[in-house]
């Protein structure tokens, strides 16, 4: 089996372009969510105390929120353009399942955010304090609800539920809106993503505050000190929550995407009593020889850690890459077929679908169509495997998953320690403003927060390769039959456009930060 008439370079360029756009979009979203929470907390302080200091502080962070919000607006729309042009088979195949959450997101974003953002910026002297505070909170909540629907759509691709494939329309049709909207995978992803976004907001507030203290800016000193404290409190709570929700996400991944977990852990051969790898030497530039290596070299691991993470039992069975390829028995007793069997059933599903449509076009009766439909329904869970030429295509690129996961967890742990340390110093009444090394560290941690967040997405998206829709449709079948040069052209176009826009944003943001409390 092999993919016909598709330029492999077109698949790579389409993926690269989507990754570029998504990574760029994700530079703005987490700061919107994180800063949305913190500026609302600042304004709540103003509402409760009536102290004008808090009003000025809230307004300052709202201005920075506005810059980030304006720069992020519509960058996600480009992803939808790419679906229609580069990923047309996928777009049609997912049908209304993907369209419904995105439509809801668009409506919520437009009406809720545009209304309350306007009141937040224009309404200080025109509405009551309570209504203004509610608008500020609803601005952040609106952005969070928007994120919910995007994450529901993404989660469905990783764990397709609440749908049924219609061979007549060639689309997946929603059978249960609640199953899609409240899928456990989506709930875990939402909680982990939003709490990690709060961490970025907190790191941003702490870093900007640290810069004022480092520069000895007297006009902003009090604002910086109090913002730093609030940032550290939010940061500590959020980073602990991100760790807890991350653990839940990993548990869910182990259940529905075991190959992703195996790639994250560079676990070639699984079994019971699996230890969790802390570090190991996985060459970042070469796919390891997982078929012949027992385990990654120089491995240091936490005994029973992986079994506990994946099954909530110290002795639970965790499949490795080779187990998944050969087939294995799950912890709950279910037998997972080998990929060879899945590939055969996938081919059967594709052939049956073609036969069904042919028969239907020729006006076949129910007696002819019914058995074809039954076979299709039986084999459809493995539909995507029919496009797989070699079982090695089912193994994601292990080095990226392995290292991105460690970067994310390592930096996440560092944030917990850093915020806890700041709050400890604050509790001990130490003069943080005079600790230049700490202030410099706080500023350095800002890019680290973005690296941490983007690493999380690398794990989520590289780990599910080769699938656009888990087990249903691989990237090679999802992509449009389009020339690679066309996609490459727009890739470079985007790279230039995004670089310019990012430079503009950073420039406006830095200018505003330098102005400080003066408008």
């Amino acid at each position: 089996m092999y993919l016909l008439s598709i330029d492999p370079a077109a698949i790579d360029w389409a993926r690269a372009q989507f990754a570029l756009t998504a990574i760029y979009h994700w530079l703005f979203v987490p700061l919107t969510l994180g800063l949305g929470l913190i500026m609302a907390i600042m304004e709540t302080k103003y509402y409760r105390t009536g102290d004008v200091f808090w009003r000025k502080t809230a307004q300052f962070w709202q201005r920075l929120f506005g810059i980030n919000f304006a720069m992020g607006v519509a960058t996600g729309i480009i992803l939808e353009f790419e679906f229609g042009t580069n990923w047309s088979n996928y777009s049609w195949f997912v049908g209304d399942i993907f369209g419904a959450p995105l439509a809801i997101e668009g409506i919520v974003a437009f009406f809720m955010e545009s209304t309350f953002v306007a009141v937040m910026y224009f309404g200080w002297e025109k509405v009551s304090k309570g209504f203004h505070l509610a608008s500020t909170w609803l601005t952040g909540i609106g952005a969070t609800i928007s994120a919910w629907w995007i994450l529901v759509a993404n989660s469905w691709m990783q764990y397709p539920v609440g749908c049924e494939f219609n061979p007549d329309t060639m689309r997946n049709e929603m059978t249960s809106f609640l199953d899609v909207a409240l899928s456990p995978y989506a709930v875990d992803k939402f909680c982990h993503t939003v709490t990690s976004a709060w961490v970025i907001g907190a790191v941003f507030v702490v870093a900007v505050s640290a810069w004022y203290l480092l520069k000895k800016r007297e006009a902003e000193r009090e604002m910086a000190q109090k913002s730093l404290r609030i940032g550290a409190i939010v940061g500590l709570i959020a980073s602990v929550l991100a760790a807890i929700t991350g653990d839940e996400s990993a548990y869910k991944v182990a259940e529905v995407q075991p190959m992703k977990l195996a790639a994250m852990e560079a676990l070639y051969n699984g079994g019971p009593d699996q230890s969790l790898t802390a570090v190991a030497w996985v060459n970042p530039f070469v796919q390891p020889d997982y078929q012949n290596e027992e385990e990654a070299p120089l491995r240091i691991a936490i005994p029973y850690g992986l079994s506990f993470l994946a099954t909530r039992s110290l002795h639970g069975y965790v499949p490795g890459v080779n187990d998944i390829l050969k087939g294995y028995t799950r912890e709950d007793g279910m037998v997972e077929p080998s990929v060879q069997e899945k590939m055969e059933r996938g081919r059967s599903a594709i052939e049956t679908l073609a036969a069904y449509r042919q028969a239907k076009a020729e006006g076949a009766d129910e007696a002819t169509l019914s058995p074809l439909l039954s076979t299709l329904k039986e084999d459809f869970p493995y539909f995507g495997y029919g496009y797989i030429r070699d079982e090695s295509e089912l193994v994601p690129y292990i080095p990226i998953n392995f290292w991105a996961f460690r970067v994310m967890v390592g930096l996440g742990t560092l944030f917990i320690l850093f915020f806890a340390f700041i709050l400890f110093l604050d509790w001990k009444k130490k003069d943080i403003a005079s600790m230049n090394w700490l202030l410099i560290a706080a500023i350095i941690l800002l890019p680290c927060a973005y690296i941490c967040s983007e690493s999380g997405w690398l794990v989520a998206e590289f780990g599910r390769q080769p699938w656009t829709i888990q087990d249903m449709l691989p990237v090679g079948a999802s992509v449009s039959n389009i020339g690679s040069s066309a996609v490459a052209t727009t890739f470079w176009l985007f790279l230039v456009l995004f670089t310019v826009l990012l430079a503009v944003e950073i420039s406006i943001m830095l200018k505003q930060i330098k102005r400080g409390l003066n408008k």
Binding site: S88, W92, G123, M170, T490, L501, V504
Partner: protein, 74 residues
């Protein structure tokens, strides 16, 4: 003097807000340029809807079915 109605207040919230913008003017300029690039340049010239360009209306399912079945050779 008659009390101002809701719509009057809402209008003035936006009208006065936009008039008194400082930083907002720059941001709206960037947003405007960005939207023009995205919707006028990128969407029209670089991101046509692939299926509607290759299949007649009502025949999209056939087109996708052919695409998906022809991607595989036994």
């Amino acid at each position: 003097m008659a009390k101002e109605g809701f719509w009057h207040k809402a209008f003035h919230l936006y009208y006065d807000g936009f008039r008194q913008m400082t930083l907002g003017r720059t941001l709206w300029l960037v947003i405007g340029i960005k939207l023009i690039i995205i919707f006028v340049v990128l969407k029209i010239f670089f991101f046509p809807d692939f299926i509607s360009h290759h299949a007649n209306e009502g025949e999209e399912a056939d087109f996708v079915a052919t695409e998906l079945s022809h991607r595989v050779i036994p």
